[in-house]
Amino acid sequence: MANMAASFTPVDDDLYREIILDHYRRPRHKHAVVPADRTVEANNPLCGDEIDLTLRFDGDDVAEIGFEGRGCSISQASASMLCEAVAGLPADDARMLAHRFRDMLKGEGDDSDIGDLEALSGVRAYPMRVKCATLAWNALLQALDSDDTAVNET
């Protein structure tokens, strides 16, 4: 067992891809939008991931979106990538993207043409971590579709 170091997996990691580590270490849109039209606090009490999502509409468009929170690289990178992908989108497109993202992690639908978000598809092979990746997206759907402000994953 002492020779495990000799059999390390290759640098090209199926889960922790470069872009995920980059968003984890240099999160985009990591701030609260003030004033916000919607604020959603999303928690995964099982593992302690926290995402507070704030957004402002301009007509039917998501004019501004930001997040605050703490947690694992997957949850935080996913939130950062979400904000980057959704900022400026019409609400309907943002909603569709959220559903496509969730489908991708369920292994359903077509994940081509989903841009950088495809980098998170590696999470599929780690069932315990799927909720980390979807936490921010569930918060987004809540923000788009309801006035409730809390998402609790269990």
Binding site: M1, A2, L21, C47, G48, G71, C72, S73, R129, C132
Partner: protein, 414 residues
């Protein structure tokens, strides 16, 4: 209860008693370093439970047939055996599902019912939620004040808080014997002596100590002590609360139903004798049989020897973590007595990411807040990884942890 000069364990022989240790994870040998969450089970325990169901299964304390009598004998003999394991009077031994249920029993039937508004209960910031939240509920309902003993940066109880809070109007002290996060071992005997001087009772969460070292409720002189079977090589779903029988006499029932009554009428019901007053409904007899087998197994190996072995593994682990680099350990690191749970973080990598990468390398550790969120806040962390050892772990497995943490550093470029 000193732990000097215990004979070394024949770990390779012991490992053969635990079938699950033969399996592989992702093509690598399983390195199970999560025994603080639950221990693995030896064949002796699995066989005893199967034998019970094959030969003697019946409900207890009911009816007159032979199987019922055998099941009752097994259950009551189990009470005597488990009480003996912690050196306590069997009439104070209540079977519960786990330490959590035992602690809830004390918080409800003693804390909420027998303490008075204005009384103070003292806890510590290192408590598992199971020895924290029940007391918060009891305090809210009974109008009790709660004071918390803080820990220093090494995870040891702050003496000035002990001195400050072990004064009137404190009526109860509830604390862990050994921290599930820090591995720190608290001076239960010393604190109990001081609590008794001011007329307070002491309730100990021993979930992390009873499996790992000799524990005597008589020597510690505590009033309540709860532990779980599944962390001590026994099955899940069974645990025990030991309490001074005279306190159990004074306490109202916790759960009500069959077995716990003496006589029931529509107008008035009287309670069964102690400890049966606290055992409502059909108990998990097979798990009691399994727990007895676990007590026999652990005594056969020797608790003092187990503790010495874990201490040796833990010291090695602290050295290995130091060699890995970029690791912060939460808890005592000086060269003294401590338990075999070591919490740590690696650079800016979140504990869940550490846990995922270690799992890929075959190494199972716990990652998260360990049901101790106030303690996480005390150390200003969201989560930690925790490696914990038991009698079946080897120094080579600790080396494997170190190698796997090297992989974390490589993946996260730290």
């Amino acid at each position: 209860m000193t732990v000097t000069s215990a004979p070394a364990l024949d770990v390779e022989r012991l490992r053969r008693d635990f079938p699950v240790l033969q399996r592989t994870l992702h093509g690598r040998p399983l390195v199970y370093l999560d025994s603080a969450a639950t221990s693995q089970k030896p064949l002796a325990v699995l066989d005893a439970m199967e034998r019970y169901y094959h030969t003697s299964n019946a409900n207890v304390h009911r009816g007159v047939h032979t199987l019922g009598n055998e099941a009752t004998d097994a259950f009551e003999a189990g009470r005597v055996r488990v009480a003996e394991f912690i050196d306590g009077d069997p009439s104070g031994l209540v079977f519960v599902r786990n330490a959590t249920e035992g602690l809830n029993l004390v918080a409800s039937s003693y804390g909420r019912e027998l303490l008075r508004p204005g009384d103070r209960i003292v806890l510590t910031v290192m408590e598992h939620h199971s020895n924290l939240v029940p007391w918060q509920l009891a305090a809210e309902r009974a109008g009790l004040e709660i004071a918390y003993i803080d820990v220093d940066d090494d995870g040891l109880l702050r003496q000035e808080d002990v001195d400050r809070f072990l004064q009137p109007p404190t009526k109860l002290v509830a604390m862990s014997h050994q921290s599930n996060v820090l591995g720190a071992i608290n001076d239960v005997a010393g604190i109990t002596r001081r609590a008794h001087e001011i007329g307070a009772v002491v309730c100990i969460d021993a979930a992390q100590s009873v499996p790992h070292m000799p524990v005597s409720v008589r020597e510690l002189d505590v009033d309540f002590l709860a532990f779980s079977g599944h962390k001590m090589c026994g099955p899940m779903g069974i645990g025990a609360l030991w309490a001074r029988p005279e306190l159990l006499e004074r306490m109202p029932p916790f759960l009500a139903g069959g077995s716990m009554i003496s006589r029931v009428s529509l107008e008035r019901t009287t309670w069964n004798t102690v400890p049966h007053k606290f055992e409502a409904g059909t108990p998990d007899v097979a798990s009691v049989v399994g727990l007895v087998a676990a007590c026999d197994y652990l005594d056969g190996v020797g608790l003092a020897a187990i503790h010495q072995h874990e201490l040796s593994l833990t010291r090695h682990m602290l050295d290995v973590l130091d060699e890995v680099g970029e690791v912060t350990v939460y808890g005592p690191t000086a060269d003294f007595d401590r338990g075999g749970a070591v919490s740590f973080n690696l650079a800016d990598v979140h504990a869940h990411d550490v846990g995922t990468i270690l799992d890929r390398e075959g190494v199972a550790v716990r990652a998260g807040h360990h049901c101790a969120q106030p303690l996480m806040r005390r150390f200003d962390v969201a989560a930690t990884a925790r490696a914990s050892v038991y009698l079946y772990n080897t120094h080579a497995e600790v080396d494997a942890l170190g190698a796997a943490l090297g992989e974390v550093r490589r993946v996260f470029r730290v």
